[in-house]
Symmetry: none
Subunit: 225 residues, 4 copies
DNA sequence: CATGAATGAGTGTTCATTCAT
DNA sequence: TATGAATGAACACTCATTCAT
């Protein structure tokens, strides 16, 4: 069911930043089912209307349950958004961590990582836009995003350090700093391509980012120029 | 003179993505003064409270005028935000376009550009955070941001193409694509450093980005590694 | 950036029923001119937008004068409406009181009176609608309308009485009561035809009303059936 | 319950001339009860204060419910007025269509019809004044009124035609036109007597209108003069 | 007399949240 | 657990009216 008119004014109540005590999950099968319906509905509505324009009643309608029942499972819009976030993360991580086929070719490794990231971003573009919006609105989620970005950069930093130590990457940059900047480059490019709508051919996007990434670390390969 | 529009329907309306016909500026000295007070106050309040939490009455209080007077100059929060944006742009562009002192050294040019960008971002971090928030909320401002980003990338693209043609940059990347990605890298890094609060030493930030940028284009310099 | 149309709401002030002390007219030529411009503009705007939707600023804009100047001449919307009413009455009465050409034929007299009334109504339909609206809103004008109707009925009553005394009208009705009812019939028919938009051929309207009027008084004429 | 203070100004929203899709009625007993309370309260307040001066909060106070609950049942003042109108119509039509006792006497039939109409009007004078006001303000209700008037005239037209065909009414007028005009006469007289406050004895009103009506159709009766 | 910026009282409307059933 | 009617705080917005220039 689509809403007839979107409200224009975005009033927002500063969330009473409770230290997010995650509420215990329901135990009865019926309760589990209802909660799941709510989370699914919330994702649908959030992605369609944005966090601000989504009303709780839209979510309960979409879920096919009554308005009051919402509070049996969640205390606020923020809380159900966190639940959506958790469920999306499972989905984003689980099935697509296919073994990167590359052997030892470092550029191929970078390419595979970039492609995996970009594919995942593209697949979940609606949610990524939403996450961005919520992060710009809610400090709690912004911090979450920051921590996640740091963890990601940490992983990439190890990879870069490894290439440097093996003499494959000759650039004398701090591996953590470089990882942070390059990861940001890829993230921003994904944002530009899949959310802002800049025109990019997907393969060209992968190649450009991979080449810039490899070059910036001065990885010597015959074909990398 | 006929009344412009006959209201035909009620309820709140989705904001029109109209060709934003900016309302004519006031002509009398008093009007000019009041409008300026409003724009200043709006920037203060927006930066302090965020776009969403800012109430018009906060703005008019800050400006020291009555609530109703707001509508003499603006029709909505979005409209006064646009005015703030315009005034910030003047401020951001005008006084800081210092002649880049670098001579011919391409790396030095890149460094100077990055430094100028980052300094401006840091100086206006509160506003940049605000702009980001508004862009994630209001499609119109998102488009504005996109167009601006493209213009910026366009400029950088010409610079890259020049370096490629002169044989200074050896990377065989599409100059527009590379410019877009690298500009995004710098922008995202600024966001991480000045808004998200990632810990960066300013000079290290400039150096890291400059080096990655130069390397990625395979600009040969003795010290660029 | 501009919001779509806002619902227009109007204020209506319960008129502080001052016994309409008519303010003295301006004396300077300039003042006389300005006042006249205002009255003209008010009629235009009132007829176009209705009394309620007409804003004082619409009237002053239409007149090409500033908002504040309104109060040099009038104290309220009601007061300027009264001025419009007065000016319309002059116009309605003056030029069209053509000598009724009929000789002694009573039916012809009735027909001429009805035709004159209906023509005047048709010519001023927009204003009549307005007057009706204002009467339904403002008790003071409703009373005005009542008094005027009674005066009109009084005149017709004398005419009916005359016909009865001369034996031309045989109906034994109270002349004042009959005049009131029959005048009402003509007024209501004019309303239906020229305001509500019932389809009537003008001549047929005149004839129908005249015949019903004459018959109802049992005026014997050869052709009146 | 009386309002403590007369507000000085009110808001009015230009109504949507929409195909008035009536919102579905509540299903639960509680909902039905609350809606009925609102409609009753609205009638009370509208008749007391007029449509324009009635504030939604006056209605909800009168109904003894909270301001927000209004919107569970209606979207606007116009919409609840339509509901009041519907409920009044039921009341006006249902219980008072007493079998007209007259036998064959055509004048007696006309008298009975007029009396029924006038009694109903007098009984609901407050509401009729209100309906008139709303019609002069809201085009949608004006159209409604027009359609209703035409239906009424249609019925009377058949009656007149019947009298003409039977040779009882000798006037050679178009039955529909005559019905329209004569119905208007009665309606206007009711307005004058019960709303404007013209002094009429009720029986005299019935008799005058009946006699004029009968005469105008040239219905021959011994006592009709 | 004219100007037009400034004022501020006043109400409709939304929607998260509660609670009786 | 589920329901959905009821609540009420909160804010934007209008425009008649004033008044300093």
């Amino acid at each position: 069911m689509t809403r007839a008119e979107k409200p224009t004014s975005r009033h927002r109540r500063t969330p009473v930043v409770s230290p997010s005590a995650p509420r215990e999950l329901p135990t009865t099968p019926r309760g589990i089912r209802t909660r799941a319906k709510l989370v699914d509905a919330a994702r649908t509505v959030f992605e369609r209307d944005g966090f601000l324009d989504a009303r709780l009643i839209d979510i309960t309608n979409e879920a096919g349950i009554s308005a009051g029942s919402f509070y049996t499972y969640f205390d606020s819009k923020e809380e159900i958004f966190a639940a959506v976030l958790a469920s999306v993360e499972e989905e984003m991580l689980h099935p697509h961590v296919r073994a990167l086929t590359a052997g030892d070719d470092p550029v191929e490794l970078i390419r595979a990582a970039n492609r995996a990231y970009l594919e995942s971003y593209r697949r979940n573009a609606a949610f990524m836009r939403l996450l961005l919006q919520v992060s710009s609105i809610d400090e709690e989620f912004a911090q979450l995003r920051r921590r996640r970005g740091e963890a990601f950069a940490q992983r990439n930093a190890r990879s870069i350090q490894d290439l440097q130590e093996r003499g494959v990457a000759k650039a004398k940059v701090d591996p953590y700093r470089a990882a942070s900047a390059l990861s940001g480059m890829v993230g921003r490019a994904a944002y530009a391509a899949f959310i802002i709508g800049e025109e990019w051919d997907f393969e060209e996007l992968v190649e450009t980012l991979t080449q810039l990434w490899a070059n910036s670390l001065l990885i010597s390969t015959d074909d990398a120029t």
